[in-house]
């Protein structure tokens, strides 16, 4: 499979070229165009798993599997939000913020992972998806994507976390003292420790939504 990412970083789109018989799994609604010999099969990865993902993962219930039949084929994929896409070659486990999964090789398994009790109060995508296996995974974000090699400790505002390798340990906590918690506007932070790669996004969807909302008339 050959994947090219075009129109980075503001309105990125993934152009996936499939060999004959090859497949790619994508978030439902992500397909924007494809060759006519590409077949779509909708799967939830098992009803219970799909339900769990929809309820907990903040993602759509179904993923679609695109397969090139009888000849090579092309599928173009794009996320809903404006921003970038990164192609992460993985061999192991990757934790992805609920709304950031775009597509992956079919061999990669997706599961939800509870982020921790504190996440309940953050208002920012409480749940994370756990991807495991070997292959490529496409992750999307709001704004630009910024990779960080963590070796030791590193702190990220929870609303800016996109994905991280499971070799990293993390704790969600509030920033600074009581004054900072109430007024700093920083919400919750994730404190990562260990060694591994981390991807962050240059904008916070939750904060952006709140700002826009305060300028919009109240919704009936």
């Amino acid at each position: 499979m050959d994947i090219k990412i075009a129109h980075q970083p503001s309105y990125a789109m993934a152009v996936c070229n499939l060999e004959e018989g090859e497949s790619i799994k994508a978030e439902s609604g992500a397909m924007l165009s494809m060759s006519s010999n590409v077949d779509i099969a909708t799967s939830s990865g098992g009803v219970f798993k799909g339900l769990k993902k929809a309820l907990l993962g903040g993602e759509s219930f179904f993923t679609n599997v695109f397969t090139a039949k009888d000849a090579p084929g092309e599928v173009c994929l794009a996320p809903t939000m404006p921003g970038d896409i990164v192609n992460i070659p993985m061999d192991g486990e990757l934790i992805i913020q609920g709304t950031s999964f775009l597509a992956s090789d079919t061999e990669i398994d997706l599961d939800t992972k509870y982020k921790g009790f504190k996440g309940l109060f953050s208002g920012e995508g409480m749940f994370m998806l756990k991807a495991s296996g070997r292959g490529n995974i496409l992750v999307n974000c709001f704004g630009a994507i910024h990779p960080v090699e963590v070796d030791g400790e590193y702190i990220v505002d929870t609303g800016h976390v996109v994905a991280f390798e499971s070799t990293l340990d993390y704790k969600v906590k509030s920033v600074g003292g009581i004054m900072a918690t109430l007024f700093s506007g920083e919400g919750l932070i994730s404190r990562f420790s260990g060694k591994g790669k981390l991807w962050i996004q240059s904008r916070n969807p939750d904060a952006y939504g709140k700002l826009l909302g305060s300028h919009l008339p109240p919704r009936e």
């Binding site: 910024h146 990220v156 505002d157 800016h160 920033v175 004054m179 904008r203 904060a207 826009l212 919704r219």
Partner: protein
């Protein structure tokens, strides 16, 4: 201190590397990520001198609360700023504004820049911030006009919704209040209405700032109220 603006112009993010002898101040909510040894303290964002007497301090405190609340009411910026300090020789802080758009760096060497409060992102400790009220007329019309008077020596970062465009004013020049990012204090300014005060109040149209003199003005290529005004009728009612 080393600094760099990444991912210009649509989703710009500021990366600063600094040490123990330096500190950084930023708009509340601007933190993206940081090294673990960085300390954050939160304070009221109304500026003022630190070397006042006791009575002066009390006065300054109440004044800062008043200013901070007024800004909140008129839909301006958050009331608080965060100060970042570090105990390590080299620490990293990444900062980004809430809105989509660009970030621009300014080096101040004793000069002053007036920044529309919503466009202030961050500054180093050598920069003093002082709140200035942009005028009662603007406040009544619902456009929160507060300027941060940024002066001193150090680095200042301002952000915009959309791109930042610089205008060299020599003579007279008008800028829509929603598009104003910053200006040099060598310019005189006056809030202007077209079609009179009443139509400004009712139509929400035609409020601008008239500049006079010689100096630079920075404007942003979009305004947030314009965007929300465009998208709100396109959203479903329920």
């Amino acid at each position: 201190m080393k600094h760099e603006v990444l991912y210009k112009p649509s989703y710009a993010m500021l990366k600063v590397d600094f040490g123990t002898n330096e500190s950084l101040q930023a708009e509340a909510g601007a933190l993206v990520s940081m090294s673990p040894e960085v300390d954050v303290t939160t304070s009221l964002n109304a500026g003022g001198k630190k070397d006042r007497g006791f009575i002066g301090k009390i006065f300054a405190f109440f004044f800062s609360i008043l200013v901070a609340f007024m800004r909140k009411i008129v839909g301006g910026e958050s009331m608080f700023v965060n100060t970042f300090t570090t105990s390590a020789d080299s620490s990293e802080v990444l900062l980004a504004p809430t809105v989509t758009g660009d970030i621009e760096h300014h080096q101040l060497n004793g000069n002053t820049i007036m920044v529309q409060a919503g466009s202030y992102l961050a500054s180093t400790s050598g920069i003093e911030l002082k709140m200035k009220f942009g005028g009662f007329q603007a406040w009544l019309s619902g456009e929160g006009l507060f300027f941060l008077q940024c002066s001193g020596e150090g680095d200042l970062w301002i952000n915009s919704y959309g791109g930042i465009h610089i205008i060299e004013v020599d003579g007279e020049y008008d800028v829509d209040t929603g598009h104003l990012v910053a200006f040099e204090p060598s310019l005189e300014y006056q809030v202007k209405t077209t079609g009179g005060f009443k139509s400004t109040m009712l139509s929400g149209e035609g409020l601008s700032i008239g500049f006079k003199g010689t100096g630079k003005v920075w404007v942003q290529t979009r305004k947030l109220d314009g965007f929300t005004g465009w998208i709100s009728p396109l959203l479903p009612k329920s």
